[in-house]
């Protein structure tokens, strides 16, 4: 059992990752918009889980709050607003779909080809494995939030404030954009 858990723990990330990819695929290739949103939600959840496996708990929770809680809900609202629940779309895919897919595949292949050595080369495993010594500094577990907040409010305060401004702007902009025309 422990070995199984250890095994699963080893490859937990991959599991969640693939699940996220599956959700993404469902998002892209489903006919129903709501299905797409659900797929999206699924993907977000799984990405949060990925974060967890990567020792970023705060981020995982933030992800859940922001994405799965806020953004997905927003999407759902809009889906319902445009009444896409009722009917299926005509013509899901673009004319350029074959070309686009082909291109993406080519790009992917190329990318993989470029990074093959890095990923699957002889030293890959060594290079890409996390150094044990560093793990301690991350202060995971009980101290991840502290560490992140320290970083956010001390080192990167300015971007944080600017982000708040951006959020304000986005808020105002969204209101303005979505307003109905008054005669």
């Amino acid at each position: 059992m422990e070995q199984l858990l250890a095994f699963i723990g080893h490859y937990m990330f991959l599991l969640f990752g693939l699940l996220a990819v599956g959700g993404a695929v469902a998002l892209v290739f489903s006919k129903n918009a709501v299905h797409s949103v659900v797929g999206f939600l699924f993907a977000m959840l799984n990405v949060a889980a990925c974060y967890l496996t990567l020792d970023a708990e705060f981020l995982a929770v933030a992800q859940l709050l922001v994405y799965a809680g806020g953004i997905v809900v927003l999407f759902l609202f809009v889906v319902m607003l445009v009444e896409m629940t009722k009917y299926k779309e005509k013509g899901l895919f673009q004319l350029q779909t074959p070309w686009a897919v082909g291109m993406v595949v080519v790009g992917a292949a190329a990318f993989l080809g470029v990074f093959w050595k890095t990923w699957f080369g002889p030293n890959a495993k060594v290079a890409l494995t996390l150094n044990e010594g560093i793990v301690g500094t991350l202060k995971v577990g009980s101290e991840n939030a502290q560490a992140v907040s320290r970083g956010l409010f001390a080192d990167y305060l300015l971007p944080f404030e600017i982000l708040s401004v951006i959020l304000l702007v986005a808020l105002v902009g969204a209101v303005v954009l979505a307003k109905t025309e008054r005669v």
Binding site: Q94, Q96, W99, M103, V106, G107, A110, V114
Partner: protein, 753 residues
Amino acid sequence: MMMESALSTPLQSPLLWLIPFLPLFGAILNGATGRWLKNNKVVDLIALGSVGVSFLLVVYTFIQLMGRAPVDRSVVQTVWTWLSFGDARVLGGVTHNTMAWAYKIDPLSACMGLLVTGVGFLIHLFSTGYMADERNNGQYYRFMAYLNLFVFSMLNLVLGANMIMMFLGWEGVGLCSYLLIGFYFDREYAAVAGKKAFVTNRIGDFGFMIGFFLIFMIYGSVDFDTLMGMTRTILARPEITLFGATHAPTWWFNLIGCCLFLGACGKSAQIPLYVWLPDAMAGPTPVSALIHAATMVTSGLYMITRMNFIYVNAPVALSLVLGIGSLTALVAASMGLAQYDIKKVLAYSTVSQLGFMFMGMGAGAFSAGMFHVFTHAFFKAALFLGSGSVIMACHHEQDMRNMGGLRKYMPWTFASMGIATLAIAGIFPFSGFFSKDEILWKVFEGWYAGGSTFSLVAWIMGMVAAFMTAFYMVRLMVMTFFGEYRGAGHDPHGHTVPSEAHHATHDDDAHGHDAHGHDAHGAHAAASHDSHDAHGHGPSEVPWNMWFPVALLALLALVGGFLNIPHSLHWIGSSHFSEWISPLLYQAHAHHAHEAAPAMEYILMAVATLVWAPAAMLLAWVWYGADPSWARPRAFVKRFPELFEWVNAKYYIDEFYEAAFIGPCKQLGAQLWAFDTWAVDGMVNGAARGTLVVCHVCHWFDAKIVDGLVNLVAWILQQFAQGFRKLQSGRVQNYAFVMFLGFLVFAFWKFLA
């Protein structure tokens, strides 16, 4: 006296140029201002004044000449250099010739100058009276201008110092004769006669030019003095080669003589170019007097005398001159026998007398021939002007059958014309005797002193012509002045004919009588003449300015003979004229006085003046004067009707010329015109069409190809634009796609390179 190279010391005179140029200025003044001024008296003054002053100048120069030694008798003036050219290739090498506008008065040209200006002045005076109609209708100034122009040209001819001046005058008098003969240019036959005169003269001028060119080629100069001086040298050469032909000098001289004589035939109306002179009577009578009696027709003779150095050494040419002269004298005299128009009789008489002059030249007697020129000028001008007076008095009647008995009405004219008739018949002591009989004697001597029988034949022809001359002149006098006046309807013998004076086509009638559709009788003449002097009842003497010149000329005809008494009659006087001009004659050999029988000469002279001419005159008197009904002439005509018709029609020579020469020329002209219209205009039109075709091709080229290229460029651009337009679909997704594509390309390029 042998002639050496040049006259020793000619006198330079600054005045000579005025002699011809005064009439020229008169002509220009009258011609330019006459119409505008409308003042006939001013025209008279200018015209008469200019010729008169010229005459005085010639007299002055003549007196100067008389005062000089015979070898020095020459007054010259070079007015300007006319032609000056570089090397002209002539016989013997190369000559630098300068042809100058120069005048020379020497004994011969002085006499001719006196004649031209003197007789010219008298004729100008006569015209002031004769051209009374023209004074009223505004054409007078033109006539006077032309007369002055004629005097200018004639003076150039006779006073010129070289052949080119003579040629200038030669052509000028031809032109003026055209202008004057065709003075009434609105009448067709007058215009035709003018043209005929000019064209016939031009044919002669062709011969003159050939002779002129040959002289220049051989001598290298055209100046008379030079030519005279060089002749001996030229003759001394064994042979001369021109244009590839090689002959003895005499052969060339013969050729030159014949060519120049062709020119003289045209100007002086010899066979075959005499046909213009009878038709020239279509001009006004003063013109006939001036040109065709006194001056222009004598220019040929003047030319031969000037060129005597050629002719004396050209025996063939001289024979030609003699033959043609005698033939002309005979034929023309015969034609004069059957004419009824008073002016035509005189015209044929002129041609015949010119023939006599040429006979004299042909016999080598240059001075005799020239002397006859002067005496002929006197009596022929008197006769012409007198006939003009007669015509005027009979209200422009010219047919002698409608005249008669004018002796009572016009005594002065009758007397003058009578004297002139005696002169022309050759009665002693009138001037015609001395000149004409001298000529006949020289011709006879040519045979008698051992020459060829040709001279005898010529002499016989001349004697017959003299007989005829006396006959027709007396006929003229009798028909015109004796008997009863037939013009007023009083015609018991039925001689009158429908008078042309009342026809629309009358010669001298300046007013159109065309309006009168008149049936022809002279009886009604009087009523239809509106603007003549109102003589409804018969002719009367003409005013003083018309009978005075006639009388003066007749006086000269009376006494003029004493200027050149032949050597055999030396007790009467001396041969002034011959001596006067002898320095100008080229002496080939020493002049030997003909010891050969002055007796023969006396016999011939006596026969001619006492027997021959009086016989003719008597015959004419008997036929026409004694019997007013003219029974004998009429019987003669009835017996030989065709003969009479033939002679009356001038042997149909005009018709022959028309058929043989003029007709073919006109046809050739028509052919050439057709060619021009067809070919030349065809070419022009063809060029036009060709241009049009080229234009069409160019247009096609421009429209299709050039525009096509431009359109092609636009089309290509458009296709590109169509292609590029698809890129801008307006859809963001497409743009995202392209961006991704670009990123891939970039990545590939960067990382794979």
